[in-house]
Amino acid sequence: MIIELVGIGHTMSVLDNLDKELLKAVADLEAIPKGAFNIRKNGELWGRESSANIEIASKANKAGIVITIKPNTRNESVHIPVILSQAGLYDVVENDFIVGANSNVVIIAGCGIHCGSKESRGHAGLHSFHLEENARVRYIEKHLAIGEGQGKRALNPTTRVKLEEGASLDMELTQLGGVDEALRINEVILEKGAALQMTERVMTEERQSATSKTVISLVGAGAHANMISRSVIRGDSLQTFSALMEALAPCLGHIECDAIIMDRGKNETIPSLKVLHPEAELTHEASIGKIADEQLMKLMSLGLSYEEAVSKIIQSFLK
């Protein structure tokens, strides 16, 4: 069955059920979204719409877009999902986000891959954010790969962020499953009074591998950052997580990384703190291990079977 999403804009074609499933999973889209959007399918623009306050334009010399949000833009959202099902395609984009002063917006990104053959496919996105003074952004990025094909699915996102004075960014970065190889790089610089909340959730299974490298630099006085990493490692999969938080001014920072190991999964977690100012305060906590027996016992004592209890714990942990 072919589902036609009809909307304003240009280059609209039809999306099939798989496309729609991917869009729903990575961007919670079931129809053309309100406000600005840019949907990319198999390395090409599928549909785009700018709004009065949010302009989306193609880059001149390379694949990617520039999203410019006017100062004082409030309560608007931008959807920029990517879907990919073409065998052998490795799609690379560079997207820039310029968020005007005093704005308050939500940006929903994400990439969904469907693999139905032996040929590999993947996506690499470099997202560069520049949040001007007192801008506030909630950024949601989900990655998912589905399909019965044996080809490798790779997702390699890089996110670079500059937060000007008083700006704040709430990042939710989620890898839902099915991705064979992932290398995620996050780099954030916080100026005076800027705030970062970064939550990364990754689930791997079978023989998948995921590597996450984050560097957070608190360079301005009064900046504060909180990074939470939640990993579930099933089957024979491997996850490597490293996060460096460095403080160059009086500021606050915290890294919390938790991993649940199941089956024969392996995990390496390296939280690192570098304090280069005597009035900075950085902390971290990390835990890696199996699901605690006491959690299973509690949920089973409420009537859930062992399997239901495991599922509930994992779902909630990655929520």
Partner: protein
């Protein structure tokens, strides 16, 4: 209601078996309030966990309302009507109080959940969406534990030291709550406790020593034993006599 017959629980200890519960038999009557007390290490929590299926029995049988449950896993015992309140409740990353209550009560209806909270005396609905994690105080998590136990509407409720971490002013309302559940809903209630308030509230006080009940009766009849320090298992402590022992 709940019959225990020849129950034994033993563990490996330096290459040999050591009995924690050697051979215990007892019948808990429907709708009665029991308080199990005794020195540390006497087997109270072990017995409670054997009833819930958290520990497997080495021998003997447990029967609930005529159905043998000795080999049932925890969740089947829960579905059969046993609820358990842990002394040290589990903490979860990501699971909220509301979710736990919803699982316990098997409902997602907000009105049902609010009614339950009122029933267990939790007045602040702000707690509903709070994660049941390490940020909660000991007292808060114990109240949540109690609420999830009551929300099961069980035939028999087992509370393992429900007053742990609870302030002095909350213990009396807690005792009243458990008594009310027993009296109005006919819940057979078993409380493991050292706290006098729970012992006084009980229809039957059971005093445990070395894995056996050596006393079963009313609180007033139990008083001489509760005041007798020789009940303590630790008779010697180096060269000190037992009444000097700090345990």
């Amino acid at each position: 209601m709940l019959a225990i017959e020849g129950l034994r629980y033993s563990v490996d200890s330096n290459g040999s078996r050591r009995d924690i519960i050697p051979n215990l038999s007892y019948k808990f009557s429907k709708g009665k309030f029991y308080a199990i007390t005794g020195p540390n290490g006497s087997g109270k929590t072990t017995l409670a966990k054997l009833i819930m299926g958290i520990y497997p029995a080495s021998a003997g049988s447990i029967t609930l309302a005529g159905v043998k449950i000795t080999d049932m896993p925890i969740h089947e015992r829960a579905r059969a009507g046993i609820a358990y309140s842990f002394q040290h409740p589990a903490r979860f990353k990501g699971i909220t109080f509301r979710e736990l209550i919803a699982i316990a009560a098997n409902t997602n209806e907000t009105t049902d959940i609010l009614r339950l909270m009122k029933r267990v005396g939790i007045c602040s609905f702000a707690h509903l969406n709070v994660p049941v994690d390490s940020k909660l105080s000991g007292g808060e998590i114990k109240k949540i534990e109690l609420a999830t136990t009551i929300a099961r509407n069980p035939k028999i409720a087992i509370y393992d030291e429900p007053d742990t971490g609870i302030d002095l002013w909350t213990i009396e309302p807690m005792v009243k709550l458990l008594k009310n559940e027993q009296q109005t809903r006919g819940v057979t209630t078993v409380v493991v406790s050292h706290n006098r308030a729970f012992l006084e509230a009980a229809d039957t006080v059971l005093i445990m020593r070395e894995g056996s009940f050596f006393f079963a009766g009313t609180f007033s009849a139990a008083l001489p034993y509760l005041n007798d320090i020789s009940v303590c298992d630790y008779r010697t402590c180096g060269d000190r006599t037992y009444d000097e022992c700090f345990r």
